[in-house]
Protein backbone atom coordinates (compact mmCIF):
# COMPACT_ATOMS: atom_id res chain seq x y z
CA UNK A 1 0.00 0.00 0.00
CA UNK A 2 2.80 2.37 0.90
CA UNK A 3 4.64 1.61 -2.34
CA UNK A 4 1.47 2.25 -4.30
CA UNK A 5 1.03 5.61 -2.58
CA UNK A 6 4.57 6.61 -3.49
CA UNK A 7 3.92 5.87 -7.14
CA UNK A 8 0.47 7.42 -7.41
CA UNK A 9 1.67 10.86 -8.51
CA UNK A 10 4.10 9.54 -11.16
CA UNK A 11 1.40 7.21 -12.53
CA UNK A 12 -1.28 9.93 -12.72
CA UNK A 13 1.25 12.27 -14.33
CA UNK A 14 2.24 9.73 -16.99
CA UNK A 15 -1.41 8.92 -17.76
CA UNK A 16 -2.18 12.63 -18.23
CA UNK A 17 0.82 13.04 -20.53
CA UNK A 18 -0.24 9.95 -22.48
CA UNK A 19 -3.76 11.36 -22.88
CA UNK A 20 -2.31 14.69 -24.05
CA UNK A 21 -0.52 12.93 -26.88
CA UNK A 22 -3.61 10.90 -27.71
CA UNK A 23 -5.86 13.97 -27.92
CA UNK A 24 -3.15 16.26 -29.29
CA UNK A 25 -3.33 18.61 -26.30
CA UNK A 26 -0.48 21.09 -26.92
CA UNK A 27 0.31 22.13 -23.33
CA UNK A 28 0.38 18.57 -22.09
CA UNK A 29 2.58 17.53 -24.99
CA UNK A 30 5.06 20.26 -24.22
CA UNK A 31 5.26 19.26 -20.57
CA UNK A 32 5.69 15.70 -21.84
CA UNK A 33 8.58 16.74 -24.09
CA UNK A 34 10.29 18.53 -21.19
CA UNK A 35 9.79 15.52 -18.97
CA UNK A 36 11.17 13.16 -21.60
CA UNK A 37 14.31 15.33 -21.95
CA UNK A 38 14.96 15.24 -18.18
CA UNK A 39 14.04 11.60 -17.88
CA UNK A 40 16.46 10.61 -20.66
CA UNK A 41 19.20 12.47 -18.85
CA UNK A 42 18.42 10.74 -15.58
CA UNK A 43 18.28 7.31 -17.17
CA UNK A 44 21.60 7.95 -18.97
CA UNK A 45 23.59 9.35 -16.06
CA UNK A 46 22.25 7.79 -12.90
CA UNK A 47 23.10 4.15 -13.73
CA UNK A 48 26.62 5.32 -14.67
CA UNK A 49 26.89 7.13 -11.35
CA UNK A 50 25.78 4.01 -9.51
CA UNK A 51 28.33 1.87 -11.35
CA UNK A 52 31.00 4.41 -10.44
CA UNK A 53 29.80 4.33 -6.83
CA UNK A 54 29.91 0.53 -6.81
CA UNK A 55 33.46 0.47 -8.20
CA UNK A 56 34.61 3.16 -5.79
CA UNK A 57 33.11 1.19 -2.91
CA UNK A 58 34.91 -2.02 -3.85
CA UNK A 59 38.23 -0.72 -5.16
CA UNK A 60 39.11 2.25 -3.01
CA UNK A 61 39.97 1.34 0.57
CA UNK A 62 38.85 3.58 3.39
CA UNK A 63 42.40 4.35 4.55
CA UNK A 64 43.29 5.72 1.11
CA UNK A 65 40.23 7.98 0.98
CA UNK A 66 40.82 9.22 4.51
CA UNK A 67 44.45 9.92 3.75
CA UNK A 68 43.83 11.75 0.49
CA UNK A 69 40.54 13.60 1.01
CA UNK A 70 39.90 13.21 4.75
CA UNK A 71 40.08 15.94 7.40
CA UNK A 72 43.89 16.01 7.42
CA UNK A 73 44.28 16.13 3.66
CA UNK A 74 44.61 19.92 3.23
CA UNK A 75 44.78 21.65 -0.14
CA UNK A 76 45.75 18.52 -2.01
CA UNK A 77 42.55 16.81 -0.88
CA UNK A 78 40.46 19.77 -1.94
CA UNK A 79 42.18 19.78 -5.34
CA UNK A 80 41.50 16.07 -5.67
CA UNK A 81 37.73 16.31 -4.99
CA UNK A 82 37.46 19.27 -7.37
CA UNK A 83 39.21 17.26 -10.07
CA UNK A 84 36.95 14.27 -9.39
CA UNK A 85 33.80 16.39 -9.52
CA UNK A 86 34.70 18.37 -12.64
CA UNK A 87 35.43 15.20 -14.58
CA UNK A 88 32.03 13.70 -13.82
CA UNK A 89 28.93 14.65 -15.74
CA UNK A 90 25.23 14.83 -15.03
CA UNK A 91 22.79 16.76 -12.87
CA UNK A 92 23.53 17.60 -9.22
CA UNK A 93 21.10 15.05 -7.81
CA UNK A 94 23.37 12.42 -9.38
CA UNK A 95 26.16 13.68 -7.14
CA UNK A 96 24.26 13.09 -3.88
CA UNK A 97 24.71 9.29 -3.90
CA UNK A 98 28.38 9.76 -4.73
CA UNK A 99 28.70 12.20 -1.85
CA UNK A 100 27.29 9.46 0.36
CA UNK A 101 29.97 6.98 -0.69
CA UNK A 102 32.71 9.61 -0.24
CA UNK A 103 31.39 10.29 3.25
CA UNK A 104 31.22 6.59 4.07
CA UNK A 105 34.85 6.26 3.04
CA UNK A 106 36.01 9.05 5.32
CA UNK A 107 35.94 12.19 3.17
CA UNK A 108 35.90 15.38 5.28
CA UNK A 109 32.75 17.56 5.58
CA UNK A 110 34.56 20.42 3.84
CA UNK A 111 35.49 18.27 0.86
CA UNK A 112 31.96 16.82 0.57
CA UNK A 113 30.50 20.28 0.06
CA UNK A 114 33.36 21.39 -2.18
CA UNK A 115 32.65 18.28 -4.23
CA UNK A 116 28.96 19.24 -4.55
CA UNK A 117 29.86 22.81 -5.48
CA UNK A 118 32.36 21.77 -8.12
CA UNK A 119 30.04 19.09 -9.48
CA UNK A 120 27.19 21.51 -9.98
CA UNK A 121 29.02 24.48 -11.46
CA UNK A 122 32.22 23.40 -13.19
CA UNK A 123 32.35 20.49 -15.60
CA UNK A 124 35.29 19.82 -17.84
CA UNK A 125 33.11 17.85 -20.30
CA UNK A 126 30.70 20.82 -20.43
CA UNK A 127 33.14 23.71 -20.72
CA UNK A 128 33.28 23.77 -24.53
CA UNK A 129 29.49 23.73 -24.53
CA UNK A 130 29.38 26.73 -22.20
CA UNK A 131 31.94 28.62 -24.32
CA UNK A 132 29.85 27.90 -27.43
CA UNK A 133 26.74 29.47 -25.96
CA UNK A 134 28.08 32.15 -23.64
CA UNK A 135 31.54 33.02 -24.94
CA UNK A 136 35.05 32.35 -23.71
CA UNK A 137 35.36 35.42 -21.51
CA UNK A 138 32.14 34.77 -19.61
CA UNK A 139 32.86 31.07 -19.15
CA UNK A 140 36.43 31.59 -17.92
CA UNK A 141 35.47 34.41 -15.58
CA UNK A 142 32.54 32.46 -14.18
CA UNK A 143 34.72 29.43 -13.53
CA UNK A 144 37.50 31.46 -11.92
CA UNK A 145 35.11 33.37 -9.67
CA UNK A 146 32.94 30.38 -8.77
CA UNK A 147 35.86 28.14 -7.77
CA UNK A 148 37.01 30.09 -4.68
CA UNK A 149 33.38 30.80 -3.72
CA UNK A 150 32.41 27.17 -3.30
CA UNK A 151 35.71 26.29 -1.63
CA UNK A 152 34.69 28.96 0.89
CA UNK A 153 31.22 27.34 1.17
CA UNK A 154 32.99 24.05 2.02
CA UNK A 155 34.90 25.75 4.85
CA UNK A 156 31.72 27.47 6.07
CA UNK A 157 29.71 24.24 6.11
CA UNK A 158 32.49 22.41 7.95
CA UNK A 159 32.82 25.19 10.50
CA UNK A 160 29.05 25.11 11.07
CA UNK A 161 28.63 21.32 11.10
CA UNK A 162 31.80 20.05 12.75
CA UNK A 163 30.39 19.67 16.24
CA UNK A 164 26.87 18.79 15.18
CA UNK A 165 26.06 15.17 14.40
CA UNK A 166 26.30 15.62 10.68
CA UNK A 167 26.11 12.53 8.50
CA UNK A 168 25.29 11.68 4.91
CA UNK A 169 22.56 9.07 4.97
CA UNK A 170 21.78 6.28 2.59
CA UNK A 171 18.18 6.72 1.45
Amino acid sequence: MKTLKKYIFPIVFLILIGLSYLFDFAAGKQVGNNFWMFFKEMILFLPLMFILIGLFDVWVPREKTEQHIGSESGWKGTGLVILLATLQAGPLYGAFPFAYILWKKGCSIKNIFIYLGAFSTIKIPMITFEIGFLGLKFSLLRTLITLPVFVLIGYLMEWYLKDKDFEVKQP
Binding site: K6, Y7, F9, P10, F13, A27, Q30, V31, G32, N34, F35, M37, F38, F39, E41, M42, L46, P47, F50, G90, P91, L92, Y93, F96, P97, A99, Y100, F113, L116, G117, S120, T121, K123, M126, F129, E130, G132, F133, L134, K137, F138, L141, R142, I145, T146, V149, F150, L152, I153, L156, M157, Y160, L161, F166, V168, K169, Q170, P171
Partner: protein, 124 residues
Protein backbone atom coordinates in the same frame (compact mmCIF):
# COMPACT_ATOMS: atom_id res chain seq x y z
CA UNK B 1 19.14 2.81 -3.49
CA UNK B 2 18.22 3.69 -7.10
CA UNK B 3 14.74 2.16 -6.93
CA UNK B 4 14.09 3.83 -3.60
CA UNK B 5 14.92 7.18 -5.14
CA UNK B 6 13.00 6.63 -8.37
CA UNK B 7 9.51 7.82 -7.33
CA UNK B 8 10.90 11.00 -5.72
CA UNK B 9 13.04 11.64 -8.79
CA UNK B 10 10.12 11.19 -11.17
CA UNK B 11 7.93 13.55 -9.13
CA UNK B 12 10.74 16.08 -9.16
CA UNK B 13 11.29 15.78 -12.92
CA UNK B 14 7.55 16.06 -13.55
CA UNK B 15 7.32 19.25 -11.47
CA UNK B 16 10.38 20.73 -13.19
CA UNK B 17 8.82 19.96 -16.61
CA UNK B 18 5.61 21.73 -15.61
CA UNK B 19 7.45 24.77 -14.24
CA UNK B 20 9.60 25.02 -17.37
CA UNK B 21 6.42 24.98 -19.46
CA UNK B 22 4.78 27.66 -17.31
CA UNK B 23 7.72 30.05 -17.66
CA UNK B 24 8.37 30.71 -21.36
CA UNK B 25 11.55 32.44 -22.55
CA UNK B 26 9.66 35.66 -23.38
CA UNK B 27 8.68 36.04 -19.74
CA UNK B 28 12.30 35.60 -18.67
CA UNK B 29 13.46 38.23 -21.16
CA UNK B 30 10.73 40.61 -20.00
CA UNK B 31 11.71 40.43 -16.34
CA UNK B 32 15.47 40.10 -16.70
CA UNK B 33 16.09 42.15 -19.84
CA UNK B 34 17.63 45.61 -20.30
CA UNK B 35 16.85 48.13 -17.60
CA UNK B 36 15.32 45.55 -15.31
CA UNK B 37 17.78 46.55 -12.56
CA UNK B 38 17.26 44.96 -9.16
CA UNK B 39 14.08 43.30 -10.44
CA UNK B 40 16.19 41.35 -12.95
CA UNK B 41 18.45 40.09 -10.17
CA UNK B 42 15.52 39.02 -8.01
CA UNK B 43 13.84 37.23 -10.94
CA UNK B 44 17.07 35.46 -11.89
CA UNK B 45 17.67 34.30 -8.32
CA UNK B 46 14.07 33.21 -7.73
CA UNK B 47 13.50 31.35 -10.99
CA UNK B 48 17.02 29.95 -10.97
CA UNK B 49 16.45 28.52 -7.51
CA UNK B 50 13.28 26.60 -8.34
CA UNK B 51 15.07 23.51 -9.57
CA UNK B 52 18.45 22.00 -10.29
CA UNK B 53 18.82 22.31 -14.04
CA UNK B 54 21.84 20.68 -15.68
CA UNK B 55 24.26 22.68 -17.82
CA UNK B 56 23.16 21.31 -21.17
CA UNK B 57 19.79 22.98 -20.69
CA UNK B 58 21.02 25.99 -18.73
CA UNK B 59 23.70 27.11 -21.22
CA UNK B 60 21.52 27.26 -24.38
CA UNK B 61 18.75 28.96 -22.40
CA UNK B 62 21.19 31.60 -21.13
CA UNK B 63 22.56 32.00 -24.66
CA UNK B 64 19.06 32.99 -25.83
CA UNK B 65 18.69 35.40 -22.90
CA UNK B 66 22.01 37.14 -23.69
CA UNK B 67 21.01 37.55 -27.32
CA UNK B 68 17.87 39.25 -26.04
CA UNK B 69 19.77 41.81 -24.02
CA UNK B 70 19.94 40.29 -20.54
CA UNK B 71 23.03 41.55 -18.67
CA UNK B 72 25.95 39.21 -18.04
CA UNK B 73 25.82 39.71 -14.28
CA UNK B 74 22.15 38.69 -14.21
CA UNK B 75 22.99 35.66 -16.35
CA UNK B 76 25.74 34.70 -13.90
CA UNK B 77 23.21 34.75 -11.04
CA UNK B 78 20.68 32.82 -13.09
CA UNK B 79 23.09 30.13 -14.27
CA UNK B 80 24.66 29.63 -10.85
CA UNK B 81 21.33 29.29 -9.08
CA UNK B 82 20.03 27.03 -11.85
CA UNK B 83 22.86 24.61 -11.29
CA UNK B 84 23.51 24.96 -7.53
CA UNK B 85 20.20 25.58 -5.83
CA UNK B 86 16.93 23.81 -6.31
CA UNK B 87 13.97 24.01 -3.99
CA UNK B 88 12.04 21.39 -5.95
CA UNK B 89 14.99 19.03 -5.60
CA UNK B 90 15.14 19.53 -1.81
CA UNK B 91 13.19 16.31 -1.03
CA UNK B 92 15.85 14.31 -2.91
CA UNK B 93 18.70 16.18 -1.26
CA UNK B 94 17.11 15.83 2.18
CA UNK B 95 17.12 12.05 1.83
CA UNK B 96 20.91 12.21 1.92
CA UNK B 97 21.76 15.24 4.06
CA UNK B 98 18.62 15.81 6.13
CA UNK B 99 16.30 18.79 5.74
CA UNK B 100 18.21 21.28 7.83
CA UNK B 101 21.57 20.86 6.12
CA UNK B 102 19.94 20.78 2.67
CA UNK B 103 18.09 24.03 3.28
CA UNK B 104 21.25 25.67 4.62
CA UNK B 105 23.30 24.48 1.62
CA UNK B 106 20.71 25.89 -0.77
CA UNK B 107 20.47 29.24 1.02
CA UNK B 108 24.26 29.61 1.22
CA UNK B 109 24.51 28.74 -2.48
CA UNK B 110 21.86 31.34 -3.28
CA UNK B 111 23.89 34.00 -1.47
CA UNK B 112 27.00 32.78 -3.27
CA UNK B 113 25.26 33.11 -6.65
CA UNK B 114 24.33 36.74 -5.95
CA UNK B 115 27.92 37.41 -4.92
CA UNK B 116 29.26 35.76 -8.10
CA UNK B 117 26.86 37.90 -10.18
CA UNK B 118 28.07 41.04 -8.41
CA UNK B 119 31.73 40.27 -9.14
CA UNK B 120 30.93 39.31 -12.74
CA UNK B 121 29.22 42.69 -13.09
CA UNK B 122 32.52 44.45 -12.41
CA UNK B 123 34.28 42.61 -15.23
CA UNK B 124 31.66 42.37 -17.96
Amino acid sequence: MFLKLLPVLIIMLALVSIVLFLIPNETLVKYMGEGSGIKGWVTAALIGSIALIPGFIAYPLCGILIDNGVAYSVIAVFITTLMMTGFLTLPVEAKFFGWKVSVIRNLVSLAAALFIGLIMGFFL
